[in-house]
Subunit: 283 residues, 6 copies
């Protein structure tokens, strides 16, 4: 399923190039250039050292290709696939200098994206059996948003908005300025185009009632306990999409999902996922 | 101490600008532009919601300044300072539109850098009383290496090389190509300039003996148990700087440091540090 | 009203800088540098030579400021204001070399954006008295989308999606691939996040019926005659937002708007608006 | 003839790439990625829906190629060729996702460039039988100057200077500063290199006389009526190239050309040419 | 006089910024950041250690300003002024860290530009008393063309074309393709705009005769001995501008200039000028 | 040997592209586009017109390839090889338009890099028979550091640090701030990582004694006469690497090298090397 959403290479090519340049610096890989002859060929594979979930195969492949267009990579695990320790994610063959020079950059991307997919998969697993979905937030690594959103999809999660301009999310600071929920939503409706959805963050059932009265597409139910969430879902009764946020972790997720909310919003998917441990083995 | 190493703004200005543009997209902050008047002023402060260690104040300040040069930020915690929940890290005052539009970008940087500094501080604390230092690796987030290396310093750690071109690190794949430690080091000495240090990764005491015979500046003792490390340190006896790596975590760090190695190399500092929880509160 | 939507300067700064560099080339304004002394001061105003609608004052001001930060511009017409021949849009004062060097770039932006706002205002005027709105399309000048969308707002129009990633619009080529409206919408619902609206283009009332059965947020009624449009609006009956497109011009707009559709989609607003005639007069 | 002047791809590659990125945003073409399988192949052709003149085939082809290098385009009309409604301009075949994602960008470029070529051809036609040529100005779309100048050539027009640094054009504001035509031209001759031509704008026959006395390469006869232009041409008598500008439109062009001026300068060619209506049809 | 041609800062700002980033690398000036406190102030002056000619003061000043906007520079020698050993070119005062970090970049630019101006001044001096001028070529340092052309002006020289698109220069390889001088010039006249000058390189008096017959703006007399040059000048007799090139050095320049040619073209001005020796002295 | 250090193409690709764009300007090579048909093929070779040393073959090849990917270049001299007048460095074959348009850019890079390699080879020859090496400095052309450092290696020289962040070099201005050599070195040791070497510039034997007491990796012996250098080398006695700088030229180099210093630091290698005279000959 995640395959449907593979972002086009043109969207991440510059990110990968800059990452290579960051590592190569002015002089390139001094160690490899000193020791390895230019004709030397390397053949290896990227191997998982932990269980997890695959994400980012085209990004890693691109790191090698940008270093040398003659490097051949073969994907052996599709993005979204489960990984076991010892699994080969991809094979790499080509000029040894280029492969060793790009190795760390490729692994840095892959480890991070697999890490996000893996953590997402844990959350998805934690709420299995409910109707809820797991969604990410804008708490992503600066510069890597599109890739990290993609990794969330690879882990079975869904995406919330990609930035400040593709959906409206009215929060407490906005309400404080507008004076009321009604006024805030009215201003938004007068300003944004009809292709844009409007979401409103509410902290209480009272606010929720106002939101339903004025009408919004999505309500973000922030920091509510399961029993309150359950009441909120009843009140909403299909008039809006419901989303729970705040203090959601792997322990609390199941109980929150069981309240009937449509989505659980989890910032940790992208801001705190540990890297998946991977290595490039020769042979 | 970390102050000595504050990197100049010119080195991270483009990174911060790109992060803002990534979040603003084509249209900017639709919510804020719709609701908040252009003359509206916002005054707030960035507050810690967890204990940790401060890092990245100038980066966060720059996110606001690039959005609107008239935003004023006042730093209330120096980089490297310990943070308690509720502590104010910095205050922000200026045009409300610009502050709310830059908020997430500023917090994404700050949360990540404080997270790295905090985790580093835990490692430093774990080996207190030994003579060892904690150093980071090249397992950093693509695009953020210099900032993340700085965050490590804020946490009390030290930096290993910044990239492939500022020091030599001979690893197993290089040795396989060269055929022997002696040949590898010889090729390096013939190729790199005299201002570059040479480090060699060894897995066994036998390899270590060869390294000492040929002479290198630093030996990386990889995946050795404490008792082996202790022997290695004895063998080295001041002829090279010693560095331990592989499987070091907060539990094992003290025992490894007690072996007498000079440095513990910890990739997790940058590749798996969870974000520090921060928020922007009005008022 | 348009003021609510002024996009932040950081979004168009690079566009303006590149436009200046394109005109200055390698050597700069040879004529001005040869004739005008560096201390010479110029004072002038940008004047409308035709009636129209104002848009882009901050863009023009930025062209001067990027050339020389000491140039002072004073806006005398707000974006969205009506312009009469002879009206002063803004005054400019500062180093003569820089002003004359940036003049053409500033006018090129301003003339284009005012031209779009002016044409939009004509369309808005043409359907006055109906409940319909005028919206633009993605048929914009490469590189200037956000500015041109802003100019549409200055003219009283509204914006359709800004790009391929902020809303879904299913067209005939997509339907051909999917095989049916139901299948196409189903695939979309499984793939995109819940913050994204889904629009479907239909050519016939039969297709419209299918669209309403499967449920979409917006229907694009393409190339329908007014009588068909009227039936379509009746069929929709509030279940979706309605948008008419195809062959809409200043003559046909009123009749189309009178059918009860919510929006008229007009590509010409951005792809064929003539420039508004403006000049920089000394004094 | 226009083929002689095809600009090298390196000059517009970045412009096309940026246009694609502008449309794709952070997430890419959501609709297409959701509905169309990655293996799906699309075959289609770009068709004219209006009569006009071809320009920009390599730019449109590049938009597809940058999206996916395996897309094949075949040109069926050369740049500069006349187009009739229904004519196929080029065929496109390759991965459906990439073609549909790049379609709008390719058409936006092509429609604009064909529009400029078409309008230019109308002007050229209007003055057929005279010895005059049609030239464009610097009133081009920011960022697209070289492409638009090329489109003018495809329409049978010629180019005036490309920017502020490849020829001198002394205008009224310059004369005001210099004090006299003689002083202005003298300063220019002392400053610019001998490979640069000098043009002077004159409003009256009196100014023209001064220009001829001091000697310039080209005189721009601004806003002169045909009878005045005729006298001006007589006065110049081959001592300089003559160029008429100001208020030239399709109605007045023939009479102006008949005065014997060498060139008619028409800003509308690039600042107000309507887009040529084109579409991408499957099959 | 050179002041008339100071290129605007926007044209070289990115060049200076990239040069700073090249020197600072990922980590910045390790030495200075380690030793110098952030509050420390430095006051110094840039001093000539050789005689020469000043060029590039604004470029050097910008290197300091981009590093820290609070650095103050005061110019004590105008561009174009003669320099004696010990002369202070400019003073610098501000944060010591930033000044010491930018020092090498500022001096690298200044030394190179002063070197070019100085060598140009030697050539100008060598032909004093003749009517000829010294001009540069396109044999400039990649990336620095506009600055180096400016330095030539500071030394009293004039500029030939800035690139391939601001004048035509027909050389032997072009003639070989076209078949004859007449055909080559005809093709050019049919293709390029009327604001572009046409220059033709000739090796023999026979070719010169053909050039004069067909008519060009400038003739480049390549590798002719003084006596041949003298005859060429006589043949031209004011019908074209004359330029000598090939094997011109400080010894041969006077004799060549004495032949009556208008310009001597000297590639060495930019491709082989030694750096002027400069230093930054404290106090 | 230099081959070991060929920097990867990704490190200089953007530099070459920018250089081409600088020369092509907005309009491209007007002369060639006017005269040469698009199907025309050119076959030629780059020939040395002076004796020297080869450097930069891949850079020149890339200039042609970026202009047109179908151009074929064949290297006939390896980087580092000696060149005699008339030697063919490389052959070039492909579309004539692209080759003639890229010619000057390719030659500008190649001439400069060969010039640096040639001068370096002269210095290396001058000290033949001693144990000393020749090293370059940071006095490089802005934007070309990595390429120029590579050219030094091609000439048989070695590289000093590449920038401010890959080694520490404590100079007089730093010492003035720190107050003493001991304090300066202590601050550095507390701040920089253990992979960074520390070099100290000393002017006197007294300073040298302090340097040896506190311990540094390298001492830069600045502006010392041969007899002082000899004493310095004796004092150092293997405790540090020794480097001589200041006033070293082709005449003085041998005597300085004979003092036993390890390296001679020569800024002129990169800041004042004359271009090697090369040409592109047809056939």
């Amino acid at each position: 399923m995640a395959g449907r959403f593979e972002i086009p290479k043109i969207l991440f090519e510059n990110t990968v190039r800059q990452a290579l340049l960051e590592d190569l610096g002015r002089g390139g890989d001094l160690t490899t250039l000193s020791i390895v002859e230019s004709e030397s060929i390397f053949s290896g594979r990227i191997v998982a050292r932990q269980p997890g979930r695959m994400a980012g195969r085209r990004v890693a492949a691109l790191a090698f290709e940008l270093m040398d267009a003659s490097i051949q990579t073969v994907q052996t695990r599709a993005d979204g696939a489960a990984l076991q320790p010892g699994d080969t994610l991809m094979t790499v063959e080509g000029p040894a200098r280029a492969i060793l020079s790009a190795e760390r950059t490729a692994l840095n991307f892959l480890g991070r994206l697999c890490g996000i997919a893996s953590l997402t998969a844990h959350y998805v697993e934690a709420i299995r059996g409910t109707n809820a979905g797991i969604v990410c937030t804008r708490k992503t690594t600066p510069g890597l948003r599109a890739l990290e959103k993609y990794a969330v999809r690879c882990g079975g999660g869904a995406n919330h908005r990609f930035g400040l301009d593709d959906a409206v999310l009215i929060k407490d600071n906005h309400l404080a300025v507008a004076g009321s929920i009604e006024e805030a939503v009215t201003r938004v409706r007068q300003s944004v185009g009809h292709t844009v959805k409007v979401e409103l963050e509410v902290d209480t059932l009272d606010q929720l009632q106002q939101a339903l009265t004025v009408g919004v597409d999505i309500v973000l139910l922030d920091n509510m306990k399961p029993e309150t969430l359950r009441k909120a879902v009843e009140m909403v009764d299909g008039q809006a999409i419901t989303e729970a946020s705040g203090g959601i972790n792997l322990e609390s997720a199941a109980a929150i999902a069981a309240t009937g909310v449509d989505y659980l919003s989890v910032g940790a998917l992208t801001h705190s996922a540990p890297c998946l441990d991977l290595g490039l083995d020769a042979g």
